[in-house]
Amino acid sequence: MRRLGVFICHCGVNIAGTVDVKKVAEEIGKIEDVCHSIDYIYMCSEPGQQLIREAIQEKQLEGVVVACCSPSMHENTFRKAVKTAGMNPYLCEIANIREQCSWVHQKEKEEATRKAMEIIQATLEKVRRNEELEPLAMSINRNVLVIGGGIAGMTASLDLAQGGYEVFLVEKGPALGGHMAQLSKTFPDLSPAFPNLLAKALEIVSHPKIELFCCSELEEVKGYVGNFEIIIHKKATYVDWTRCNGCARCIEVCPVEYPSSFDRELGMRKAVDFLYPNCVPKRVKVTPTQCRYFQDRSCRKCEEVCPEKAIQFDQKDERIHRKVGAIVIATGFDLFPKERLGEYGYGEIPDVIDGLAFERMLSPDGPTRGKILRPSDGRVPKEMVFIQCVASRDPDRYMPYCSRICCMYTAKQAKMYKEQVPDGQPYVFYMDIRSDGKGYEEFLQKTIEENGVLYLRGRVSRVFQEDGKVKVWGVDTLTGKGIEIGADLVVLATAIIPSEGVKELAAKLRATVDKHGFLTEAHIKLYPVESSTKGIYLAGCGQSPKDITDTVSQASATAGKIQALLSTDKLFQDPLIAYVDETVCSGCGICVEICPYEAREMDYRRGISIVHVALCQGCGACIASCPNFACELRNSSSVQTLRMVDTFI
Amino acid sequence: MNYLYFPGCTLYTKAKNFDQTARNCSLLLGFELIELPNWTCCGATFPLATDNLMALLPPARILARAKEQGEILTTLCAICFNVIKRTNHLLQRDGEKREKINEFMEMNYLGDLKVLHYLEILKQEIGFSTIKDKVKKPLNELQAAPYYGCMLLRPFEEMGFDDKERPTLFEEFLESLGAKPVDFPYKIECCGSFQSVGSPEVATECAYRILTSAMKQGAEVVVSTCPLCTFNLDQKQSDILKAHLDFKTIPVLYFTQLLGVAMGLDPRTLGFEQNAVDPIPLLKRKGLV
Amino acid sequence: MGSSGNGFIKKAMVIGGGIAGITASIDIGNAGYNVLLVEKLPSIGGRMLQLSETFPTLDCAQCTLTPKTVETGQHPRIQLHTYSEVVRVEGQAGNFIVQIRKKASYVDWEKCTGCGLCQQKCPSKYPSEFDRGMGLGKAIYTLSPQAVPNKPVINTSHCRYFLEKKCRVCEKICPVGAINYQQEDRIIEEKVGAIIVATGFDLMPIERFGEYGYGEIPDVIDGLSFERLNSASGPTNGEIRRPSDGKVPKEVVFIQCTGSRDPERYMPYCSRVCCMYTAKHARLYKHKVHEGQVYIFYMDIRSTGKGYEEFIQQTMEEGILYLRGRVSRIFRDGEKIAVWGVDTLTGKKVEVLADLVVLATAIIPHQEVKALAQILGIPIDLYGFLTEADRKLKPVETNREGIYLAGCVQGPKDIADTVAHANAAASKVQSLFARYS
């Protein structure tokens, strides 16, 4: 018989206000193997912990139950405390009498007291059969995979590399920069976006600790925190980048032109081209769906003209294997697809464009060299309508959330428009102006006051073409009047959505996404950059819409988290996981199928199923599904569980 | 010390009693109000149209003439005070307009006169403690509600009279007379001003709200600093009675009238007969007349 | 890991023990570096400890925070200096010599067991700052029963011994003889390689709002006060009772942008958190007082975080009345508070006779930040927030190498953004230290 101690916490009035803690302590103290049963106002406080430590030593306790708040709060606290008193920490258990008792039964004091005693008795049943366990130690790999070469991925990579860690940076496109490379200037300082970005990109390509994989995607990932094995799928560019020097002669001779998606279809690009001029790395890529060689072998002009013999029409995709200890997902965002916005004529009316397209127009290196010209006829628009919340804050039809950055970039765009076209009139339809970052409100008010941007509070119901103008039907809820504007150009601030393929990527990484496809953080307040899977971290708009400042903070934050994670030699994991009674296991494999963490695997040689200790999260699915009762969970055995249930019924 | 004094239209005519009382009280307090010679109307509103320099000429002239006679100009009427003080402020700050006006008027006034309301003279120059000492008939804890109105307080940056949201100067004055000032939220709300000419029913409603607010806080009398406010609050009570059947009348006094009572002036010289709501019964009850 | 060969000290100092400072300290500590955490109050936890629940999940703030404060207190690499202030900093990244004033607590913390007897017996009560003046504290006090460290200090401006040389009750009652009235401030000197400033925020005092009664109407309170009213550990044990007479308010008005977005009179910037916490307040109130009505005056609703917009919409659907417009004036009207506002969507003036008014006052930096910026040699903006090196790309760096910013000291932000910001600052410190290995 073990010598057990029970410690009942008042949690101020949180528990003691409902549960008669004195009575509980007294009654529990009468149980035969309970050698010590006391109550105290705050067990988690230092004097409370001291009470536990002293009791363990004085009464030579062999098991401890702390009746207090949820184990997610203070299980660690008390396990550490008993350990310093020389007890194995896994002999300490929490009986949750706050969340599961006092808080929900505030009006039923007697019943709550009785229930508290039952919860404690059940927990005692568990402790009576708990084993002494040691945390599992695992070696770790110190390299890091960063997925996404936008400002988030770039920032995380550089921070990690500067911290001395090897980084594999995987970017889907042919160059770094992400959406930030498409921007003209950034709010609220109106500093040009590109120069700062370029400096970072150049630092990345020259950094000895960063290996950059462009035109690449994560194909496969196995393993667990500290020990991931990854396969990177590097797609053929049909150009030998070790030879290409970015001279651009191939681009000059390429006869195929098609709308550039980087320029949001406002400009043209060639079948062999840079992602954008001055991109990093400054290397060209052949687009096989456009290239005549790949259509009918009719053209090899680029190959002929290349002084470095870099064109390789027979280049093949590569699969590259790497091992990493942690992974950052920085996959960024897309804009809501235009095909789905019928009422705004988007996609049909050439002079209705989205915010990114307008950014390209404003960029000095963009399709119009920074001139604001409407796509249909190249004229300077004099009546300029911006519409915010397009597909955002629209729970019934589109996205319920706020896209967070549109208010500010619209204000910036309106300001830049007015500066370029002083006799033009910008109108902004908005619902609420959200300028909540540092210096944002000031920027916005200045824009309205000094640039005469007309803000109209209300949505736009319809946009259509008439008499060479784009008719906009909106409302100004402040006068309560309908508004009609014959616009020359309409810019839609469309909703930010997670970039394509994030769902599949998340599934590969066992990270979770919400119903809109944004990656889910471990805790919205306290763990905003951790995913729910250990070793997987989130940076940037893949987690939720955010501006550059917040993205950079978050990216640095992931780098910090990872450095802390990888700074030790071993990772320790709770040993409260499944194990197999090899003598009972029949090797049916049901558990392998059912395990959500790929922690179960068949050992065909021995004809049994085994447990990967590092992958197992102790969820118990295999235990419930095993027809032979061959699996058990450490310190939550069937016997323990049944005894606990017996206490209640 | 004597002070240059600008009476203004109303105090010179229809509210002569307010003016006379102030002059008499001043003498009892040891100074004299010297009427500005050849004074003209101040214009009765400060022009809010920024392009209207014409309306600034009368107050500018008053200021320039006063400056020839002394350093401080005082008024009793809150509106005159507002117009003259704001014009002074503008002439001080706006070089361009100052030049234009000086040129047009063939004068050279720099905006360096000190413009004080009579209450400010009492506080800053005489001192409320002195007044308290000189009071002959302390007001016996008369529950008096000090109504500031708008013109003394706003715009705060130009008038600098007292805190614009919760002024206390008037209360201090009443306390020095032995009254018990009643704080009431409407003491800084507008009485309707010249709307008693434009939209009398609106002014009536404003007066109703102010008076009921004061009475709710236990006021026995409302005291005002402006002849127009006094008119709106006092003379309009008969109109209020027609619009609000539950309304009870309350005497409204000009501050100099109350000062006169406390200084022991003969009540017959205070012009109570001109008050629409007779204050005599109240003052009798308090043993003040 | 201490100092490397070239004298670069791999130890960080974090100034401010709120959620930002705690997060940064734990991150740096977990990375294997030593941390000095300096907090001016007697215990860590900061503003978050005053909060009841947090948006948008309505999680209990204390329950989220306490494990973190406990972890900080027990972390082998974090050394706490509470009730302390940084008074001097010299040197440069890798080798800052810092002086910390450890204020006299008049309690020997080495001896003190945190038993709490002294607080129980102390006869001197006064309005507690932690409870925003609505509850009573003692002259010898800890900020909360779960304080980390759980050691009391004596407030000399309220202690009878210090005021009149009488009493000495705490000294008599203390079972370990820890009270020491003779204790004096001490200056200690430490060497650190990097510094994170995380001193948090203050609220613009309601005494500054003349049009709202200069803080003299007892039932006009600020957002933090409402947090305390709503908090289970607060002065009303979580019941919504108004300060003046303890009645349950049935008409509650919330006024956003009080002192924010007001370039002419107060602060031009947006305080970023008020829209969300006001919506949260409204909901928590409504959950407790079903028959009550909430009115929220706002200018623009700013719910830009993850799940925030959804939270706001839900709030409206629960019957909370949002009125788009400012409030011009508040004054007492008998037992009620008259609120003169406007609904710009109907264009009408709105008058509400409220039982309780909650002002979402502007977030401002602590007064002491100015002096601290001078000590650290880093720039400060017009309003007293510390300035980051680059608004976009270096949001946690300052223009001095080795000094970083975390949380609201750089500008108003909510807990999630503060934590990410603090994580980022910690990351920069780790990178800095790693560069010198």
């Binding site: - | 229809k14 920024t50 715009p155 | -």
Partner: protein, 137 residues
């Protein structure tokens, strides 16, 4: 109920005139409504001061000039003293009066001849002098 907007309309002569006379930037108004909230005569107004500013900005000249708002304004300056954007709203109200009173034809808001008998004798000078300045061409 409907406004057709164009840049000419936004930069309409009427709004410009009001801005010129008042010296205020109407674009600075962010429609918080503080002016209306604190206005002592708002109860009798057709439109609140904030709405008048909005209507003016949008060039709704006829509608604005037909409301009683600026005629009811008593220039008490409560709105101006509390405007978070520092707009002197009372000046905007006066400017609107001026727009009408300064027209070529006399546009008196008050007809002295219609005053009740003995009215002018009863009312203090200050009331009708300031009233005449505000209401007469």
């Amino acid at each position: 109920m409907k406004i057709e907007l164009s840049r000419d309309k936004v930069h309409n002569e009427f709004a410009k005139k009001v801005e010129w006379i008042s010296g205020q930037n109407l674009f600075a108004c962010y429609q918080c409504g503080n002016c209306t909230a604190g206005c002592p005569v708002a109860f009798a107004m057709d439109l609140g001061p904030h709405e008048v500013i909005r209507y003016t900005l949008l060039g709704l000249e006829e509608e604005v000039l037909s409301v009683n708002t600026f005629w009811l304004c008593a220039s008490c300056l409560q709105c101006s003293s509390r405007c978070p954007k520092g707009i002197d709203i009372a000046r905007v109200m006066d400017a609107l009066r001026m727009v009408i009173l300064r027209k070529k034809e006399r546009r008196d808001y008050l007809q002295i001849s219609e005053f009740p008998e003995g009215f002018l004798e009863r009312v203090p000078q200050i009331a009708f002098i300031s009233g005449f300045r505000k209401f007469l061409s």
